[in-house]
């Protein structure tokens, strides 16, 4: 078991490295040089002032050297400064990261806490009216664009409850209740797709498992129905569900990005979009690498949980 974990952890290293090279390469090699963007491409900006600007921005070395500075900066926390505001990127990220992680976490919790029971219910009452309703709702849930959902949520909450997103984000530690009331609606919008996915997968997986021999055996032994469902059926049906959730974490991180923009939440996604608008290259790099790293690490975590859930995997190592 432990050997397998170590191997899986080591496998993530080249992926993370390759991902950072790809993002760095995209930002540095795509057309639209930053110095010409900053000098506005004016005729007055001569070669020497451009060279000085490059040096000030840390763009004077070769591309591999610049990449080396970028990666060592990621580990040492020397992330440089924003081209546009001059603010330290480490400070910007320090404020943004907890917000994004909180929303992503809340969204995942909502998806599992609501999607899984609905899926089980749908499977147990197969072909009933509520099952049909759940299945259709699941398919519709997969097709609703989350930014439309967020827009409608804003419309509805302001019309019927007089709730509008606060202008300033309150951190969890300074006022937990206020923080959660700010995060709940955005997190729900982020979670919607994942929720539908979890529900559909739980239903399909439960239906398969309920016909397995060990479920029949458990019933034959006289185990209470609740124990049969939860311990024997649900636990084993979780394995494919966990896998699917893992592959969908990417859409979750994308969802967080766009929802942050809509609700004006100062998280990493919102920072990324603003950096793209203003062509703030160092900030684009750091925010994009962070979002991708969370994706890779969560996928890794899902793989490890998978190992814990599946008794066959446990026994074989």
């Amino acid at each position: 078991m432990r050997r397998q974990w170590v191997r899986r952890l080591l496998q993530a290293v080249p992926t993370l490295l390759g991902m950072s090279i790809l993002i760095f390469g995209l930002v540095h090699l795509l057309p639209g040089d930053v110095t010409s963007a900053l000098t506005g491409g004016e005729a007055g900006a001569n070669a020497s002032s451009e060279a000085a600007l490059r040096k000030a921005l840390g763009l004077n070395g070769s591309i591999p050297l610049q990449y080396w500075h970028f990666v060592t900066g990621l580990f040492s926390g020397h992330l440089g400064k924003s081209f546009v505001t001059g603010q330290s990127i480490a400070t910007i990220m320090g404020g943004a990261i907890p917000i994004t992680l909180e929303i992503a976490l809340l969204a995942s919790l909502m998806a599992v806490a609501v999607g899984m029971p609905l899926g089980v219910l749908s499977a147990l009452k197969r072909n009933s009216a509520s099952d049909l309703l759940g299945r259709v709702a699941g398919l519709v849930g997969l097709s609703v664009p989350n930014f439309w959902l967020a827009t409608l949520a804003l419309l509805a909450t302001s019309r019927f409850f007089g709730w509008v997103p606060a202008l300033e984000w309150t951190s969890f530690w300074s006022d937990p209740l206020e923080n959660l009331s700010q995060a709940a609606v955005p997190a729900f919008c982020v979670s919607f797709y994942l929720l539908a996915m979890v529900m559909r997968m739980t239903r399909a997986s439960m239906l398969e498992v309920l016909h397995e021999g060990y479920v029949r055996t458990a019933r034959a032994k006289g185990a209470p129905e609740r124990v049969v469902i939860v311990r024997h059926a649900l636990r084993n049906s979780l394995i494919p569900v966990v896998t699917v959730v893992g592959t969908q974490v990417g859409s979750l991180m994308g969802g967080v990005t766009i929802i942050e923009v809509i609700f004006g939440i100062p998280g990493v996604g919102n920072t990324l979009i603003n950096a793209v608008y203003t062509r703030d290259y160092p900030l684009i790099e750091v925010t994009a690498v962070f979002l991708a790293a969370v994706f890779v690490i969560l996928n890794l975590a899902v793989d490890l949980v998978y190992g814990l859930l599946d008794p066959r995997l446990r026994a074989s190592t």
Partner: protein, 306 residues
Amino acid sequence: MTLPAMTPGSAQASTLADVTPEIVQTNGSRRREIVRDFAHNRLGLVGLLIVVVTLLAAVIGPLLWHTSYSDQDATRLLSPRMSHPFGTDELGRDVFSRILHGALVSFEVSILAVLIAAAIGVPIGLVAAFYGSVLDGVLMRCIDILFAIPPLVLAILIAGLLGPSRINAMIAIGVVYAPPFARVVRGSALSIMTLPYVEAARALGVPRLTIMVRHLLRNIMGPLIVLITVYLSSAVLTEASLSFLGLGTQPPEPSWGSMLRDARAYMQIAPWLAIFPGAAIMLLVLGFNFLGDGLRDTLDPRSTHD
């Protein structure tokens, strides 16, 4: 050596080979069977209906409708009524005609983007499966790296850095969705590679390109068609997301995403501006999802479905 024994459709062919166009062409009963199966798939039919109706509306609708998407009516922000079933926007333009034009944009971008994704992913998958060993390893590691970045984040990066435009959004979506094509094509091609007729073709000295195209590619058309349909729905959503963020189709040309973006400023006094474009996105995505599910059930008998 008799060639007919090597063609798919012989006893050795796998279930995958049963869904090939070759069979469809040579064997009318198989084609009828596929059509009959699909005709019994209610969800798939609903999906097909949604997609066809939307396509017709996009292509023929603007010719029949009384205003064009850029005509400015004197009255702004009219609520829905007979002459303007979806109301008018902040510049007095008819929302219905803008939705119709937006459908055309959605189809154009998503179809071309998925074709780009297939054009990148399919050759990579075929080459990886055919040559194997080191080349396969290198190509698949590169694909893994592309998979390591959340799709929308990668699309935002590419579209944002190339500069906001419809073409760049298309390219971005195409690159983002290439990896799944490479993976699925590689996987399906690998299972075909082991079949005797491929081995026989190699032994006969058939050129590699011919084997890849005629024997591998033609025999994985079933899974490929399913994949294309599924990713059409993702492409519609991603295009709308990029346009919503201002990184896709640029004004004055309407797209569903950018209409939704513009609607937010007037949402409180004109909620219809926010409701109709989003509903249109959802309907088309739902149509492609249903169609994809239906096609999967019909063309890919190995996959079980609820």
